[in-house]
Amino acid sequence: MIAMDIDGRRVVTEEGRTLLDAAREAGIDIPTLCHHEALEPFGGCRLCVVEAAPADSRGPAELVISCLAPARDGLVVRTASERVKEARRTVLDLLLARCPTSDVIRRLAAEHGVPRTSFPESTDGSKCILCMLCERVCAKIGAHAIGGAGKSRGKRIAAPFDLAAEDCIGCLACARICPTGHIGYEETDDERKIWGRTFRMVKCEVTGRPLMTEEQRSFEAKRAGLPEDWFTKCPESKRRETAETIAKAFEEVR
């Protein structure tokens, strides 16, 4: 058991938890942009920085990244000190300059006292904040279809060599996890277009509703060790079918 002082409150947590985990469990909000519980902490957006120092420390507190810093017994943590707020404001100011058209960033920045950026705004219209959630979720799923290309401010998310993403399964996990809606796709009942690829949709045998792409079906079936024809119907059809089976079974028993 670990006991810490977070913002003057005693917070108890377990070994192996991060400062962010502990704070959130205690209902203390720390903003994040590149964090997702399905993925390994990344530490890129720097929004979740907090000040931390051991209780007996005489020196200045350290500015640490709460999504990665492990909880330690006796730690004194400040999640909203002036130093922390200054760092967060600057990060949001910088992100707002990069993505002035992103509603998510605009709202978050405004909430932190940055109504407009103090830096020259980018004019490329990109909403990508390079949080890499898309790359990381794609890797987590096992597709490894997209990733960061280039470095510095020219870094961007791309398929290898900017060609159609060969390993993409069209699952849209990247687009869905993207906090700013930067990753675009097109979709009809028959097909889905993303990362330069066009995927055919598997449709519900009963209702004809699109379920997933053919590639996603193969991929997921293989991972789960299930036959491909396991994935054939929409939940609603399966519910009705199950209910009918049960009703029939009871009929026969009676």
């Binding site: 530490g43 990665l68 600057t90 960061g148 470095k151 510095s152 401010r153």
Partner: protein
């Protein structure tokens, strides 16, 4: 043939030392920066053959003073000849080797006193150094294992492997107070202990950093072997920049030859300890100075640092406990093991024992590699060993610690070169680069240049470094173009502070040093740029106007000859004049004027 024990190893040492018995050894430097060494060696060889003189002409690695190359040494006589050309071969064979006489032009001219010295032990900038890590620089052929063995390399490893427990090795390193020379200065002993005590079946030992790899690769491999033995690693890597072709070739050869002789690989020196080393090539990204980025590069991933929870010693390369040491640190390890921690602590400071290899450059008379004890002052380095500021100019500033170091001014000249004192003044030990600037430089432009470069070297992972350095560079660029405002100065400072405070890795944390340290020391010059629209250093072209001081001008026309726009007029022996309409303030005239007549208005 494999050396299967300490006895075989000492016999090999004797054989290597005795192989030139009865012959005079002449070494010609073939360092990465030297040109013409091969031709000089060939000329000396053929001249000696014709004269019937028995010589062993051998190569030498870099001496660390490439402006004096090619260098020829006669170790037995302690002679050191600089700037040798093939045509000098007859004189070298007959006079130098034959009679011990060195013609003046081949002796080294001391930058400060203009005196000439031919004995290595007397050359001030060499004699003033304490070469421990660079003990073999210029004294051995880095491509020749026998040279290394003759110089005692692998002796400390043999001692450690056959007479010490890993625990004892770590205790010795801890007692020596050795700190990592890669930049952060973390205790090497503590790091090794953490790795040894970390849970995991397998471990890795990794070396990075190019300079020592080119000068003395076997010393680095020996240090790496000792590190591996201490932490219990059986696999290791030497990480080298792929574009550093010389280092790559030398390390590759060194690993092969050392493995063939049983100094690396299976059952080293007949003991039970095995350690296989492989060469890992990476790009030349600046961020590869960051240990976690290096490990990712070895794993075949994009070199991006990660937050160090947990530390690499606990979970590093491929998720296993890993020690990563700079090649300079590793080259010192055998010295600590061989001579003992007390001996090592005799130089340097209590906090930072030993020496640091510094790379002195910029506007200084004698540049190159200088290995000095920690605690040596900046003044001793620049004005003592470096011979002072080049030309007739005055010292203005020195950038200490490499591109992400800080700019120190005249008031800081007595700062001891050590982690603590440098950090207190906004600089770092960092890469050990010290770049001297004279009074014709502009701190604002220097800040702009390095911030711009570092912004481009940001890996792009974290926001403050990626976006913050970009905007710092943009603001600085505007100021140097004369488009800055007084409000830019507090903004620069505030942004630089957050970038330093909130960035993920050492690159982002140290990159603002140049901005903050110049703002601290040269605020008046920043103000001149944004308030008076002037660059006092005469560097920022948009803010600079040159005039010729007619009292000082001798009318030599040197400036007229170099002016690329033909802006300077005036007859010989008559005062010259610069036409402000044509002048682009490139500053070429100022570099040529011997009378300091070109002034900034």
């Amino acid at each position: 043939m494999k050396l299967d024990g300490r006895e075989a190893f000492s016999r090999a040492g004797e054989a290597a030392r005795g192989r030139d018995a009865g012959r005079t050894v002449v070494r010609v430097c073939r360092g990465g920066g030297c040109r013409g060494g091969a031709a000089v060696a060939a000329a000396i060889e053929s001249t000696a053959r014709e004269a019937g003189t028995v010589l062993a002409v051998r190569s030498a690695g870099c001496h660390g003073c490439c402006d004096l190359g090619p260098v020829v040494t006669v170790p037995a006589a302690g002679l050191f000849l600089a700037g040798v050309k093939p045509a000098d071969a007859p004189e070298i064979v007959t006079k130098v080797i034959g009679a011990g006489e060195v013609p003046d032009r081949l002796a080294v001219k001391d930058a400060a006193t203009k005196k000439r010295f031919a004995r290595e032990a007397e050359i001030p900038f060499l004699a003033g150094q304490t070469r421990i890590g660079l003990r073999n620089a210029g004294r051995i052929d880095p491509a020749d294992l026998d040279d290394a063995i003759a110089a005692g390399t692998y002796g400390a490893a043999a001692k450690a492997l056959t007479t010490m427990t890993p625990e004892q090795v770590i205790a010795v390193i801890e007692a020596s107070g050795l700190r990592g020379r890669g930049g952060a200065g973390f205790s090497t002993g503590l790091k090794w202990r953490a790795c040894r005590e970390a849970t995991g079946d397998d471990r890795f030992a990794v070396a990075n950093g190019t300079v020592l790899l080119e000068i003395d690769p076997h010393a680095v491999l020996e240090g790496l072997l000792i590190a591996a033995y201490a932490v219990g690693a059986h696999e290791g890597f030497v990480f080298a920049r792929a574009d550093s072709a010389r280092a790559v070739a030398l390390v590759k050869g060194a690993i092969e030859t050392a493995t063939a002789r049983g100094l690396l690989g299976e059952r080293i020196l007949g003991t039970d300890f095995s350690f296989t080393v492989r060469l890992a090539l990476g790009g030349s990204e600046f961020v590869c100075g960051e240990s976690t980025a290096v490990l990712r590069a070895i794993e075949g991933l994009v070199p991006e640092p990660r937050v160090k929870y947990p530390r690499s010693a606990e979970r590093g390369l491929f998720g296993r406990p890993t020690v990563l040491d700079n090649s300079e640190t590793l080259a010192l390890v055998p010295v600590v093991v061989a001579r003992g921690p007390e001996e090592f602590r005799k130089v340097g400071t209590a906090e930072s024992p030993g020496t640091k290899v510094l790379n002195l450059g910029g506007r200084v008379r004698q540049g190159g590699l200088f290995e000095v004890p920690f605690g040596t002052t900046l003044r001793t380095l620049v004005f003592g060993l470096g011979g002072g500021v080049a030309g007739k100019r005055r010292f203005k500033a020195a950038m200490v610690g490499g591109p992400s170091g800080g700019i120190l001014g005249e008031a800081d000249l007595d700062t001891p070169l050590d982690y603590g004192p440098l950090a207190a003044r906004g600089a770092i030990v960092g890469s050990g680069n010290v770049m001297v600037m004279d009074d014709h430089s502009c701190p604002v432009d220097v800040a702009r240049y390095f911030t711009h470069s570092l912004a481009a070297e940001s890996c792009g992972k974290c926001v403050p470094c990626r976006e913050g350095l970009h905007h710092l560079a943009e603001i600085l660029t505007r100021i140097t173009l004369g488009e800055g405002t007084p409000a830019d100065l507090p903004r620069l400072r505030a942004l630089a502070r957050v970038v330093a405070d909130a960035s993920l890795c050492g690159l982002g944390k140290t990159a603002p040093n140049v901005v903050l340290s110049t703002l601290d020391r040269f605020e008046a010059e920043y103000r001149a740029h944004v308030e008076d629209r002037k660059c006092p250093g005469g560097v920022c072209r948009a803010l600079t106007k040159f005039e010729i001081d007619t009292d000082l001008c001798e009318g030599c026309q040197a400036c007229q000859k170099v002016c690329p726009t033909g802006a300077i007029s005036g007859a010989k022996k008559q005062p010259h004049r610069i036409d402000p309409e044509i002048c682009t303030a490139c500053g070429m005239c100022r570099t040529k004027c011997k009378f300091d007549a070109i002034t900034v208005v």
